[in-house]
Symmetry: C2
Subunit: 225 residues, 2 copies
Amino acid sequence: MDAPRWTPTTLSPEEAVEHDRVHGNLTRATRALVEAQLLTEVDHVEVEEVTAEIERLTARLRKATRAGALGVELGPGEREVRAHGNIVAGLRNPVAVLDMERRTVDENRRVTHELHLGPLYEGPPGLVHGGVSALVLDQVLGEAAAVGGSPGMTGRLTIHYRRPTPLGDLTVSARLESSEGRKSIVKGELRDADGRVTVEAEGLFILPSWATDLPEFKARQRAFE
Amino acid sequence: MDAPRWTPTTLSPEEAVEHDRVHGNLTRATRALVEAQLLTEVDHVEVEEVTAEIERLTARLRKATRAGALGVELGPGEREVRAHGNIVAGLRNPVAVLDMERRTVDENRRVTHELHLGPLYEGPPGLVHGGVSALVLDQVLGEAAAVGGSPGMTGRLTIHYRRPTPLGDLTVSARLESSEGRKSIVKGELRDADGRVTVEAEGLFILPSWATDLPEFKARQRAFE
């Protein structure tokens, strides 16, 4: 397999701002449609008409399209990483629940996100799917590794489910615990709206040898410093 | 917190078939729109027009809507479980990638799904997000626990990332390894299109005491027998 690539963006700073405004609005609209589609109880005739309308909009968006996944672009600023396709934090991914602009990093480099998991993220009735907790924690543990100065890809992830996580407002946070060479240990947790820990996670992150050699990766690392 | 509930469906067998046909088509249309939205390169004027059209369709679907998440319905048949909101396997969830009708169970009760993870599921460039692998494995390990006769909720999940998982066609499978009382151990793995194991998982599943007492849960357990 080819090594994954981080490629420089071709957008100027002004173009990047405008692109993100226009596509951010489109993504929010799609996200709202997805939730409406999941929960709708309109009659079947209306459902079938809306289905046909959605298919027409899909055809319009496909008139010009990328061949593959969005990937990750660097720039236009020195420290900017445009991971817009990322399923947890991508500006153009309607499934993404983390807003990178609103995350906080404290003096101990603990990364914290507030998030809302609605009906789209259900597993057992009324509860967050256990795998969604793992998905969000994997992302935030990876961010904490990078913010702590030891970026890497997940080598091992252990999730402890302490109590059911209700759908709704939640907080996720993580912090680098230790690092040695290209390996680091990160711990984090998910909390419900009352501040109770529902899920705990520990991750081993490893910086692949191919990544350390890439100039793009060094730029990405700088972006988190 | 109230114990989660599995509620009997109010649909007749004929109504359930028609509901699933109409809403299955709507869900597929939404899924296609989501991917088109993620990858589109049409000009900004067209993006803004489509955004407005999507908002109009959302308003139409919201004219009659459920207040909360879909939850899980039982019936109308003796062994039917309608977990239509489930983010990994729900018929009405456009993010769901597993088709319960196409899963296979072998003579050792090993559960296997073939699945396709497209650009929506990206983490590192061109690769499946590590948390998505965890999400899919959590679901399939849970299915294998139930199929093996020891249903439960995830207590602990350990994921070992053996190599990067490329976006595309994949296979996920899992099998109950052992069980004792209300606890069971399940192991599973994710394989790429060439059959190489990319991710391994081990899960501890626990049947909550409140669940063993619910008549709905017993019906749900029967559904997997």
